[in-house]
Amino acid sequence: MPFFKITLIRSSIGLPKKTQGVLNALGLRKRMATVFKPVNPSTAGQIMKIKELVAVSEVEAAMTSAEMKALRKPDPGYYIETPGLG
């Protein structure tokens, strides 16, 4: 089931209350926040209301915020050896 990955790029400061309401309904509270919403006409209508503020892409599966954070985490550059059996 495909999802829209919606990231808030531009802030809604000073924009009409209706626009801010759409962002709240989508769960976009601050800039660079990302949410996943199922692809359907009602989500599409919401995105059209805030199209100047967001970046949108279509993805196969939704990710949790923990998974997104794990993707951003850099490689630590070391690994911890465990004592071998032989």
Partner: protein
């Protein structure tokens, strides 16, 4: 006469602000970039709905019917907008409040 609080025409009262009457070329470039970003969002949403064989909502259909994309727009429409109070009925698009976050692409009929 000199210093930060000298009597210049913007400071000596009234509403004389120094807003240039036209956009600079980097401003125009960023404006084109923003137009393309909005076009991309609309295209992504449209393609995603088509792939699911879902009909698009009213606002998406209307946008596709009425709004030109960045390539289809004339430079005049990208950087200026209609205003009935201006000489020759055009003013810079940067005079529109929140102009970097609202869509202003078409003219009233006949202009």
């Amino acid at each position: 006469m000199f210093g930060p609080f000298r009597a210049t025409s913007p400071l000596s009262g009234g509403l004389l602000w120094k807003i240039p009457w036209r956009l600079s070329s980097p401003q125009k470039r960023r404006q084109r970039k923003r137009l393309r970003l909005v076009d991309n969002v609309v295209a992504t949403v449209d393609a995603a709905l088509k792939r699911q064989n879902m009909e698009s909502g009213r606002n998406l259909v209307r946008w596709k019917e009425e709004m030109p994309t960045e390539e289809e727009m004339r430079p005049k429409d990208k950087y200026t907008m209609f205003d009935r109070k201006e000489k020759k009925y055009r003013k810079g698009i940067h005079k529109l409040p929140k102009w970097t976050r609202v869509s202003q692409r078409i003219n009233p009929p006949g202009f």
